[in-house]
């Protein structure tokens, strides 16, 4: 009996032992599988659950004006995001958040119902909005900081500064051109965190801090930029224009002090028809650099400067100038008919004579005219490096037609940017030396060290004597010619008006009754410090001397005070062959051919 009980107990013990052994064997096998065979996978899974890698966006560098005043800077804003897997009731959460975030309920609900661990609900919202959303204490809804770009001076110089995308990448303008320098290097935080997102003490934690982007110091002066935009905007309204451009440059260095691109109806809906004369505001792009226009009479300065530089004429030389001139199959005429008269070259410039300029252009010849146009910077980019910058349109002389020479002599048949034309006038202002325009003065690194940009490249285009003679002729334009409205009290202004017909888009020919009016010049003429150009798109009246010249005067007058540029002493005089007031007409001029002149002759031609 006792022996049977012992045997049974022993069997039970053995059975238990075997079961225990099997159990341990299974556990051991599983342990081996987890720890040895599939160790890497489980380590990875574990790390995925614990270790969080957070890319920290670098602060984007600021953009300053030449005096260190903020034009663009980044500030941290709250972004609202959600983990839909942690959201209990997407509809309720969406309904609560929609009015605060100003997002459609259906859209929010769709996002909160996604099978994902991360969805954006609203990015870079204001602090007030973030505080209201946070106060809801919704499960699965979280907040993170993201830098947002601000233009503290509202839309001042906005087309030049450009835009930044939602992920802080430069999309246009200087933001795009200098994106690499501005964006900096993102930081990286690797840390072990618990399910609540808190760092696990003693866990893995590596942190590579982000490096802030470099700052940009522009050549633009904020105050002058404001005054330039204000004056241009007012003229757009007064002249019922579509828009306008104004640029002010420091003569000696080529630094751009103000660059205004304005358009009427700046706040109209995208796709809406162009507005005229109302609601002026910054244009969507930097038209002064990216858009080309036929310059018209302002281009006559180059024709005349070329003929003087080549020794073909002197400012005082007289030409017999008729009212029309036949070249090839076209009859070119003056905008104001006049009897055939003897005009000096200075008077041709002061009167902005089409016929006189064509006659001078014919003396110069197509190869030399083309050479001067290119030396003045036409047909090639300015070196600014601005995104979308245009080279302008300048035909190869081999492709010129019979009328190319006369049309180009008066500024038609050639297309330039406003900046190119400004640089051409700046060449005369600099004594015949072309100075490439410049928009960025320096970059400032994270360490605060300032790295000035290299000086603008220069090249001689005209001799100093020719430049002085052309300057004298340009002062006559302002003093007795078509540009009187550009005069500034106490200073001598040199400049030239332009009124060019506007070509049709996509087809040959010109838009009826549409003109681009401009004035380009510099001040003080004796010792130039500021060079400026003003261009109005389809203004009324059409004359550059009436709509662009006053803006030039207003902007330059402000600039002279802003930069404390005194009038030169009386002892400094310009070499001027004075135009006879009786030989000069009062109003503006129109360059190029008119519809009536395209018909065959009846020409009065004269002069060599």
């Amino acid at each position: 009996m006792r022996r049977t009980a012992d045997a049974r107990a022993r069997r039970r013990l053995w059975t238990f032992f075997v079961v225990l052994l099997l159990g341990f064997a299974v556990i051991g096998a599983r342990l081996g599988q987890v720890q040895v065979l599939a160790a890497d996978r489980y380590v990875e899974v574990g790390e995925q659950q614990r270790v969080r890698t957070v890319v920290q966006a670098a602060d984007r560098g600021s953009i300053f004006d030449r005096e260190g005043r903020d034009l663009a800077l980044s500030v941290q804003q709250q972004t609202v995001w959600a983990n839909p897997r942690l959201v209990n009731d997407p509809l309720q959460a969406a309904a609560a958040l929609a009015p605060i975030l100003d997002v459609d309920v259906a859209l929010l609900r769709a996002r909160l119902s996604r099978d994902a661990a991360f969805v954006y609900l609203a990015r870079k919202v204001s602090d007030d909005v973030a505080a209201k959303a946070r106060a809801l204490s919704l499960d699965g809804v979280f907040f993170l900081d993201e830098p947002k770009r601000f233009l503290p001076a509202e839309r001042l110089a906005a087309p030049v500064l450009g835009k930044v995308g939602i992920d802080n990448e430069g999309l246009s303008g200087l933001e795009r051109q200098y994106d690499t320098a501005l964006k900096g290097r993102p930081g990286l935080l690797v840390a072990e965190r618990d399910p609540h997102g808190r760092d696990i003490a003693g866990g893995v934690r590596t942190f590579r801090p982000s490096a802030r982007g470099d700052d940009l110091v522009l050549t633009i002066d904020r105050s002058l930029q404001y005054e330039t935009e204000r004056a241009l905007g007012r003229e757009i309204v007064t002249a019922n224009a579509l828009g306008g451009i104004a640029i002010v440059m420091a003569t000696g260095t080529g630094e751009i002090l103000a660059l205004a691109n304005m358009t009427a109806g700046a706040n109209r809906e995208p796709g809406a028809p162009p507005a005229r004369g109302v609601d002026p505001g910054p244009a969507s792009s930097n038209m002064a650099v990216t858009n080309v226009y036929e310059p018209g009479s302002v281009n006559k300065m180059i024709t005349i400067a070329g003929t003087i530089e080549e020794g073909l004429v002197r400012p005082s030389d007289e030409l017999v100038v008729p009212s029309t001139i036949q070249v090839a199959d076209h009859l070119f005429s003056e905008h104001d008919p006049h009897p055939t008269e003897k005009w000096s070259v200075t008077e041709i410039m002061a009167n902005s004579s089409n016929v006189g300029s064509i006659m001078l252009g014919q003396r110069l010849g197509k190869l030399r005219l083309d050479r001067y146009l290119r030396q003045f910077g036409f047909g090639s980019k300015s070196g600014l490096g601005f995104p979308g910058e245009s080279s302008g349109l300048l035909l190869d002389p081999k492709k010129w037609s019979g009328t190319s020479l006369p049309t180009m002599s008066i500024g038609q048949g050639v297309a330039v940017t406003a900046l190119q034309m400004l640089a051409a006038y700046n060449t005369v202002a600099n004594g015949g030396v072309y100075v490439a325009p410049k928009l960025v003065r320096s970059t400032v690194g994270v360490d605060g060290a300032q790295h000035p940009t290299p000086p603008s490249p220069t090249r001689r285009v005209l001799s100093q004597r020719t430049a002085a003679q052309v300057t004298g002729m340009l002062t006559q334009v302002v003093e007795v010619g078509t540009g009187k409205a550009a005069a500034i009290e106490g200073y001598s202004v040199a400049g030239k008006t332009g009124t060019a017909r506007k070509p049709l888009v996509g087809v040959r020919g010109y838009k009826e009754g549409a003109y681009v009016s401009s004035f380009a010049g510099f001040v003080p003429a004796e010792r130039p410090a500021l060079t400026a150009i003003v261009m109005m798109d389809e203004p009324t009246p059409i004359y550059g001397g009436l709509v662009a010249a006053p803006v030039f005067a207003e902007v330059s007058r402000y600039g002279l005070r802003q930069f404390r540029i005194p009038p030169p002493p009386r002892t400094e005089k310009i070499e001027v062959h004075e135009a006879s007031p009786s030989a000069v007409r009062d109003v503006g001029e129109v360059g190029g051919r008119t519809a009536t002149t395209i018909s065959p002759p009846a020409a009065k031609t004269s002069g060599p």
Partner: protein, 171 residues
């Protein structure tokens, strides 16, 4: 008689060494260990164990304390990071606010709204007579006059400098 009685008894010890040797070969020689020796070994062991236990305990306490310190440090670090980020964000916001308030458009708007500034229809600039360039400008005015801006404004005519000067000096 007596010899006969004692003889075996005396011999017996003679044979004893052999017996003892045999016995000692079978059983180790036992002897009474002094009491002091018997107590030393357990006491050392006990002391060793005590020390080891204490040291181990202290080590554990130390590790735990260190962990607490590290954890506190981690929290402090996280708090400082948050504080630095908050302060940086505050600085950025204030800088933006200053820049916005400094912008020319806001200054003009504020001056118009709060101070009642009225932008002048035209700005009068003063030109010192000595600085006037002599190039025969058609629209030049004679020295000693104050002009209004823009040739379109010429109709308003020059103003006498000597009449304006005293007023300027009062500013």
């Amino acid at each position: 008689m007596t010899a006969a009685t004692y003889a075996p008894a005396r011999r017996a010890p003679r044979h004893q060494p052999d017996t003892r040797r045999e016995r000692s070969a079978a059983h180790p020689t036992l002897r009474v260990v002094p009491r002091a020796h018997t107590r030393r070994a357990p006491r050392r062991r006990r002391l060793f164990l005590t020390v080891m236990t204490t040291v181990s305990f202290l080590c554990l306490i130390g590790v735990a304390a260190m962990q607490v310190v590290i954890t506190q440090g981690q929290f402090e670090l996280a708090r400082l990071h948050r504080q630095a980020a908050d302060n940086q964000a505050r600085y950025d916001r204030l800088r933006l606010e200053v820049a916005e308030l400094e912008s020319p458009a806001v200054v003009v708007a504020t001056a118009q709204r709060r101070l009642g500034m009225v932008p002048p229809p035209r700005v009068v600039y003063l030109a010192p007579p000595a600085a006037r360039p002599g190039a025969g400008a058609a629209n030049a005015v004679s020295p000693g006059t104050v002009t209004t801006r823009g040739t379109q404004d010429q109709a308003s005519g020059p103003t006498d400098w000597s009449r304006l000067k005293p007023h300027l000096a009062e500013r």
